[in-house]
């Protein structure tokens, strides 16, 4: 992400790693019934989400490309290019796009994930046309020089130090992902590995740009005080004039081989003062579940995660934190909004006097017990209600809605998938939830990470 604001950064992190991970394709037909969805002649997809409460718009362009599409040896190029996209074009040089956004009181930023890269501005609605003109310009006319590329490379390396190198917990997560995925590029950090980042060049960035930044690989999303006909007219005048610069290849990433081992990662650091553990399982995402004919499994996984470790009413929290007092905290989520497979992630901190090994054994025991238990109708209704309500709350924010649709469309989903999500969650049965649990809580599809103080041996 380009921008420095802690709040915006948090929001993006939440969306990319928590919000959508919790399987939250927002919906409620009452509000989003007017969503328009069409395609320009050059192949650029357009989604319009009307929200007339305030005279502002959120204008976003999403590219169907992310860190998992990077060439080998260039980890971090997707995110580096995202930063470089702010450097200028012949007609709008030297950051004049950003200056213009600021001059009309607009806010802007960009973000990169494994599956997508997106740029946005939030402005008063009368400036929408200018945003579209400027964003269209940088889709095909980016100019980079050594003078702007070199300091920006230092910036992304500082960003990596801030996010990861100063933080042992983040280092463990990075190692856990790299261990979980043998072959699929989801094992690479979006920010990149430092040794590859320092070698990223201007040419790397431009060749990546020329390969993927083309209208037929982009999605325009406009949420706010607009109507679809007006957006269509403006889009045809701006984005519609762009040539198809490239024909990006199908997004087929290397497939995972069969996993036969439970992998363990352990990080001991003098910076760590409180031990904790994390475990991730590879499971289908919304997209791969459909691709493989496993209809309904992703929706069931969403509810499964919520019931098992979603919060303080969950089975693991109630048993291990409240009753047995072996853990101080426990939580987790389902990362289901991915182009390829997703993950079930859980994390826990042991109570004083409990080792990570003891806690891990207790978690395994209680997960097995949960799979043999009965989910009552009352419990299921309660959790469904809570999960579905997230889609109502999401309607308060045009920015959130824009992100929900953008994420869905860049990870192999459709507008209709988003609109029918609540219905599909409602239809999930208790048996289906336990069935996905039994099927996917396979320890050989998982990696477990221990975070430990350097001096304290964890074995008692």
């Amino acid at each position: 992400m380009k921008h420095r604001s802690p709040a915006v950064r948090l929001f993006a992190a939440l969306i990319a790693f928590t919000f959508l991970a919790a399987g939250l394709p927002g919906n409620a037909r009452a509000f989003v019934k007017d969503v328009a969805n069409f395609t320009l002649e050059n192949g650029m997809q357009v989604v319009v989400i009307p929200d007339h409460r305030a005279p502002v718009v959120t204008h976003m362009v999403w590219y169907r490309v992310g860190a998992a599409d990077e060439p080998l040896g260039q980890a971090g190029i997707a995110h580096f290019l995202e930063h470089l996209m702010f450097k200028g074009t012949p007609s709008n040089p030297n950051g004049s796009f950003s200056k213009y956004v600021a001059s009309v009181g607009g806010q802007e930023n960009a973000f990169t994930s494994s599956d997508y890269t997106a740029y946005f501005q939030r402005v008063a609605k009368e400036h929408l046309a200018d945003m579209m003109r400027l964003e269209a310009d940088r889709m095909e006319n980016l100019v980079l020089t050594k003078e702007v590329v070199d300091p920006e490379r230092d910036v992304i390396m500082e960003e990596r130090r801030s996010r990861t190198d100063n933080n042992p917990g983040a280092q463990l997560s990075e190692a856990l992902e790299a261990t979980l995925w043998f072959e699929h590029p989801y094992g690479r950090p979006v920010i990149g590995w430092m040794n590859e980042m320092e070698k990223l060049t201007l040419d790397d960035a431009i060749s990546y740009y020329d390969r993927y930044y083309t209208p037929n690989n982009a999605i325009l999303i406009v949420a706010g005080d607009v109507d679809a006909a007006e957006v269509k007219r403006l889009a045809e005048e701006t984005y519609g004039k762009l040539k198809r610069r490239a024909e990006p290849p199908p997004r087929v990433r290397p497939e995972e081989p069969v996993h036969r081992t439970h992998r363990m990662v352990r990080l001991e650091s003098p910076l760590v003062t409180q031990p904790s553990l994390t475990r991730s399982y590879v499971v289908p995402s919304y997209t791969t579940a459909d691709r493989e004919g496993l209809t309904g499994e992703a929706e069931a996984l969403d509810l499964f995660a919520e019931l098992l470790f979603g919060g303080s009413t969950s089975a693991l929290y109630q048993k291990l934190v409240v009753e047995d007092k072996l853990a101080v905290s426990i939580g987790g989520y389902y990362r289901g909004t991915m182009l390829d497979d997703g993950e079930l992630v859980l994390f826990a901190s042991p109570a004083p006097g409990t080792t990570l090994e003891q806690l891990e054994a207790a978690i395994d025991r209680e997960m097995a017990a949960f799979l043999k238990s009965e989910i009552t109708e009352e419990t299921l209704a309660r959790v469904k209600r809570s999960v579905i309500a997230t889609s109502v709350y999401a309607q308060d924010s045009q920015q959130t809605l824009a992100r929900v649709f953008g994420t869905a469309l860049t990870t192999g989903r459709t507008v209709d998938n988003v609109l029918t999500w609540t219905d599909r969650v409602r239809a999930v049965t208790a048996d289906e939830i336990l069935a996905v649990g039994l099927k996917y809580l396979d320890i050989n599809q998982a990696a477990t990470g221990y975070l430990l103080p350097a001096s304290a041996p964890s074995r008692s």
């Binding site: 001059s103 801030s162 706010g224």
Partner: protein, 445 residues
């Protein structure tokens, strides 16, 4: 829920005072209704029926500064106990009911203020408000829940003990506020939290949860009459007057210093600052504009340009005005690799000095005004944000017409104002600096 008699309700309605004001930047649709409930509680409401939600933000003046001496962290502890059981529901029963109602309720302790946020679907409105009433009036503080939450807080504190930002924050509190309550960590320390008792939480609640220090902002699908009744149910039983300990004004160091704390991390974390202005200072708005130009603007500030854009020294560099009730501060920060920490500090100091001496350019002032005026509308584009604004404006005593006046106040700022603000805010440019990282920085004293 107690039922009010019909005759009382009829009388009560006539007492509602109606004052409406528009938020002009966000179109005529946004209209603030100010009224007083029959129970005497002031409420600001924006009725908005598009989405079937109601958001109520509220705040009590008196946050972490009201923690009893030696027990930093009481207010913060209280906030995590609010959904751990109330009335005849224990922790689990209460949280399962919250989930079944799909309501959202959270509390948060600031230095001067204790904040609450409550959101409900329209369809479960009355049941959700009743849950809020229970939490605020009848939270149980059961021993088991208390012990569990204490362990969670302690774990969080232990977890961040070696985090550079935590070490920086602690050093900052000591150096900048010394013994003033602002110097204590809001969440407390392992030592202070270990000392906190259930009695401390009860006592804090009894002193702070009152009506005369309460402000409320509501946005959503609810009318004034219905809301008045619900607000009285939730808050009407609280004592009229809070018992606030008087907090003295803090004395902020006005001499520059540079302190370092050693930590073996590749990136040095740096915070700098100096005394600032209180929110009610006549020069606050000019100082705010000045800071935007110096380090407040996201892609366009001088610090951003010099530190990040030209030299690639940091991902994040910024400054802001931090007006507390009893102290004004100017604060900034960045993080950069250890080898270049000294250089980054030197650049920040020289940019602040340059601004203090020469002030901004006419062009910078024009751009700042354009941004600050134009972006004001973006603070009002969700129900959550509007509710937050309604509460902040009341807490800062800015007046109900502030929404109307604010952009004109920005527009009225002149170069003269900025020069005066620069002199008052930056005064020659000396800042104090605290850095946490490897020992690569010369301390100057």
């Amino acid at each position: 829920m107690p039922v009010r008699s019909l005759s009382f309700q009829a009388l009560a309605l006539s007492l509602l005072a109606f004052v409406c004001i528009l938020i002009p930047r966000t179109a005529s649709a946004v209209e603030i209704q100010r009224f007083t409930t029959p129970g005497g509680i002031n409420v600001w409401l924006v009725e908005e029926n598009t989405v079937p939600l109601i958001t109520m933000n509220f705040a009590w003046r008196g946050g972490a500064t009201q923690d009893p001496g030696g027990k930093a962290g009481v207010a913060s502890f209280l906030t995590v106990m609010m959904d751990e059981g109330a009335g005849d529901m224990d922790s689990r029963a209460f949280q399962e009911r919250e989930e079944a109602l799909a309501m959202r309720m959270s509390f948060n302790a600031g230095r001067d203020t204790l904040y609450g946020e409550f959101r409900t679907l329209v369809e479960t409105r009355d049941e959700s408000f009743e849950m809020l009433r229970l939490a605020i009036n009848e939270a149980r503080f059961d021993e088991a829940a208390f012990a569990r939450m204490r362990e969670q807080i302690l774990t969080g504190l232990r977890d961040s003990e070696n985090d550079p930002q935590t070490i920086l924050g602690r050093a900052w509190g000591e150096a900048v506020f010394s013994n003033h309550p602002y110097g204590r960590p809001v969440d407390g320390t392992v030592d202070t939290v270990s000392e906190i008792t259930i009695g401390d939480l009860r006592d804090y609640r009894a002193r702070i949860f009152a009506r005369d220090n309460l402000v409320i902002g509501v946005v959503g699908a609810i009318d004034q009459k219905t809301l008045a009744g619900l607000v009285d149910e939730v808050f009407g039983g609280l004592p009229l007057n809070a018992q606030l300990t008087k907090i003295p004004d803090a004395i902020i160091p006005d001499k520059p210093f540079l302190r370092t704390a050693e930590l073996d991390v590749p990136q040095t974390v740096i915070q700098f600052g100096r005394p600032g202005l209180l929110r009610d200072d006549a020069d606050f708005i000019p100082a705010y504009v000045l800071n935007y130009i110096l380090g407040g603007g996201s892609f366009s500030s001088r610090l951003y340009e010099e530190v990040r854009e030209k030299r690639g020294l940091a991902y994040s560099v910024y400054s802001y005005l931090y007006p507390l009730d009893h102290a004004g501060l100017f604060v900034g920060g960045l993080a950069t690799r250890a080898e270049r920490a000294q250089e980054a500090i030197d650049i920040v100091r020289s940019e602040i000095t340059r601004m203090a001496k020469d002030g901004p350019t006419e062009e910078e002032l024009a751009s700042a005004k354009a941004y600050l005026k134009g972006s004001y509308a973006l603070r009002f584009d969700t129900g959550d944000k509007i509710a937050d604004q309604l509460v902040q404006i009341q807490l800062e005593n800015l007046g109900y017409d502030y929404f109307d006046k604010r952009n004109a106040m920005i527009e009225a700022v002149t170069m003269e104002d900025l020069k005066r603000a620069a002199k008052r805010l930056l005064d020659g440019g000396d800042v104090f600096v605290i850095a946490v990282g490897r020992p690569t920085i010369k301390t100057d004293g």
